[in-house]
């Protein structure tokens, strides 16, 4: 905790410093030889896919550098863009794309994308094209589902909950039978699932209305989701945890949680970190709100073209290949490669995505994930200041964990802080309700 705060502080400092000092970076002149594209990301085996590309494209060499996962990486990416030495491509989670665009960190590459648009799921393409101009190539999505322990479900005599109401009832049953375990948890270091629960209820945190933004982080759907989880927490039936702390996998291995709600990319992490529980897991659709089939998306990322990239055309070509070709996805989507759930439409039929998984009792997980992806509310958009909203949300969730605030109160304060943040940056914005 202390360390990560210190790190965050350090990175913020370096970002600020880069702001102060990074105006005069010298550019090298492009020569006729092979061009080199720098690419930062956190997909485990991306270097192997890059090797394949480099062998086939001697004229466009890609240099991959792995960076920390998600939020930890962004200050570094930002400061290197400002310092003018960022290279060309960086992985961003989809929620960050509009913020990076608004802060002038990305390059408009619409002119190089041609019909690449048709390769990817519509809603992912619109998330990488805020305002109609394209700045990134979608990489993966995180259609959500419920991973659950079949053996423990049997032990506690519960059936797979189809709705959130059933989930709450089952949670209380389990907790009453054995207070040391629980049906689920709320991850207070993972803002993306909290947003996803609101997304599933058709909340609209951000929407464009003419020239201005409508902000609805505390709209009725979002408030309903917050109340639901707060009630579950208050009842003691579930507890909070830190999903990105290694200790989480100890909890998972010990059977402390019967379920795990998460995007498709969690499959690889479960298999690699709690391998001893192989065969005891299964996948079911995430519980829905009664009367609705809507699912949600957690995470998912894009490969964005950074401002200052000298070879945007080649960068787009590589990113498109990386995120849609079977050669590449055979690596990135494999369980030991990161288990990306591709954003490319045709890729959902690739064999690598449709393996029968013995870890999950021979289930083809894609049956569930594909349905989930089709049921994601497509109107959801991320705002131009979501970067800072997300930080505030993460800080607030830490307070929820220590009972310093409640989820509904957090949503209300997040609404206020986001609106003032947008106004402070000269962005027209109003509450949506």
């Amino acid at each position: 905790m202390k360390k990560s705060q210190a790190l965050a502080g350090a990175l913020t400092v370096s970002a600020v410093l880069a702001l102060l000092t990074g105006c005069g970076a010298a550019g090298t002149t492009a020569s006729a030889g092979p061009v080199t594209i720098d690419y930062m990301g956190w997909v485990p085996k991306a270097d192997k896919a890059v090797d394949i590309w480099n062998k086939a494209h001697p004229e466009t060499q890609v240099k991959y550098s792995p960076v920390s996962n998600g939020q930890d990486a962004y200050p570094k990416i930002r400061s290197s863009v400002q310092a003018g030495n960022a290279g060309c491509l960086a992985q961003l989670t989809l929620d960050q794309v509009p913020s990076f665009v608004a802060d002038g960190m990305l390059m408009d590459v619409t002119q190089y994308t041609g019909d690449v648009k048709d390769t990817f799921l519509d809603w992912t393409w619109s998330q990488v094209s805020p305002g109609g101009q394209t700045y990134a190539i979608p990489q993966d999505t995180g259609p959500m589902a419920m991973y659950y322990r079949t053996d423990l479900f049997e032990k506690f005599g519960i059936t797979v909950p189809k709705t959130w109401d059933e989930f709450a009832t089952a949670a209380k049953t389990v907790h009453a039978a054995d207070p040391s375990v629980s049906l689920g948890y709320l991850a207070t270091d993972d803002s993306s699932t909290v947003a996803a629960y609101a997304w599933q209820r058709d909340s609209s945190w951000f929407a464009i209305d003419g020239d201005s933004w409508k902000v609805g982080i505390d709209d009725s759907a979002s408030a309903a989701s917050a109340t639901y989880w707060q009630d579950l927490l208050d009842s003691g039936a579930i507890a909070t945890t830190k999903r990105w702390d290694p200790g989480f996998y100890s909890e998972l291995a010990s059977g402390k949680y019967l379920t795990m709600m998460g995007g498709a990319w969690n499959t690889a992490l479960i298999e690699a970190n709690v391998g001893d529980t192989a065969g005891k897991w299964a996948l079911a659709p995430m519980p829905t709100v009664k009367g609705s089939t809507a699912s949600a998306n957690s995470g998912g990322s894009a490969v964005a073209v950074l401002k200052g990239c000298k070879y945007p055309e080649q960068a787009v070509a590589f990113a498109t290949w990386l995120n849609s070709s079977e050669d590449s996805l055979n690596i990135l989507s494999a369980a030991d490669g990161g288990g990306l759930y591709p954003a490319a439409t045709k890729a959902l039929d690739y064999a690598v995505v449709n393996k029968k998984d013995s870890f999950f009792g021979g289930q083809n997980l894609n049956d569930i994930f594909r349905e989930s992806a089709n049921n994601v509310n497509v109107g959801w958009a991320w705002g131009p200041t979501y970067s800072s909203t997300d930080t505030t949300l993460t800080d607030g969730l830490a307070k929820v964990a220590t009972k310093g605030t409640t989820l509904p109160a957090l949503m209300t304060s997040l609404q206020t802080s986001t609106l003032s943040d947008m106004k402070g940056r000269g962005i027209q914005a109003a509450a949506s309700h």
Partner: protein, 297 residues
């Protein structure tokens, strides 16, 4: 248990011999108890590290942290050295370079300055020494950010020099150098050397440096360890992974939470302290001699 029971007997034997070291049985017991507790306290994390380095990624989470479960130490070591095309080896070499070269230069500079401060009388000597002592009080992390600003002005950020140059300047080395020079070198000896016609440079290299060799090793060990463990400076200064020291490299792996590589991180951590252990064990004699120098006057 046996430890605490046998040791007091030893002190009893001791008591017969020398009257001034007489310690009561209960004092000895308490001392042993406290020391044993301290030893256990310091060794528990080491034990955890050794045990954990032998586990596969899955076993890390499904077994007790202090007990063995499976044995995949060698697989882990192979993973550590093959990940990212063997970057770990490069990181180790970088650390050896930063801590070795940086430590040697820091020690030489510190001992030379300390010698000058102790043995030459010149105006402002006290002020300079005071300023250096003041420098000791400022945590090095505080200076890192101003250093970054300066280095980025002159284009040294993200180069080897960004880590090496700050490492060379070490007020603690000057401080220790002065103490040792004052304690271990009689002025008469230097006078004699001067009378024999040796130049000041010659006196420093042929007489002073040799006399101060225990101090030299002590200061070198201090510098080596502090540079090896310095995390914040390279974190701020370096963005090219091939320049990382091993501490920063391992941290970078640890933060890649989308990758199930906790076994690699832990085994890498174990491997990264081995050079420190070697340095300590091989230089330990000098270390002790150095620490006691000047303590009896």
């Amino acid at each position: 248990m046996t430890l605490t029971r046998t040791r007091p007997q030893k002190t009893e034997r001791f008591q017969n011999g020398s009257a001034e070291l007489r310690v009561s049985r209960s004092t000895a017991m308490v001392t042993m108890g406290v020391l044993t507790l301290a030893a256990v306290y310091f060794l528990i994390p080491v034990w955890w590290l050794i045990v954990s380095a032998t586990k596969s990624n899955t076993a890390l989470f499904s077994s007790n942290g202090f007990g063995f479960s499976g044995f995949s130490l060698f697989d882990n070591i192979v993973d550590v050295f093959t990940k990212q095309d063997g970057l770990f080896g490069r990181w180790l070499l970088n650390s050896v370079l930063y801590a070795g070269i940086g430590g040697l230069l820091a020690t030489f500079l510190g001992v030379a300055c300390g010698y000058a401060l102790a043995k030459y009388n010149f105006r402002g000597r006290g002020v300079i020494f005071g300023a250096i002592l003041g420098g000791l009080l400022i945590p090095s992390a505080l200076l890192t950010v101003p250093l970054y600003l300066m280095f980025s002005r002159i284009g040294l950020v993200n180069t080897v020099w960004a880590v090496l140059i700050p490492a060379i300047v070490n007020p603690f080395a000057v401080y220790l150098g002065r103490i040792y020079a004052a304690a271990s070198m009689p002025d008469e000896l230097l006078e004699a050397a001067r009378l024999d016609g040796a130049s000041e440079i010659r006196i420093f290299f042929s007489v002073a440096l040799r006399l101060m060799s225990p101090a030299f090793v002590t200061v070198f060990l201090f510098s080596f360890v502090s540079i090896w463990n310095n995390f914040f400076l390279p974190l701020i200064m370096l963005s090219d992974q091939s320049l990382y020291p091993v501490t920063l490299g391992i941290f970078n792996w640890y933060t890649q939470t989308r990758e199930a590589n906790y076994n690699v991180v832990i085994t890498g951590s174990l491997l990264s302290v081995i050079p420190l252990v070697i340095a300590f064990l091989s230089l330990q004699r000098f270390w002790r001699a150095g620490l006691s120098a000047g303590s009896v006057k």
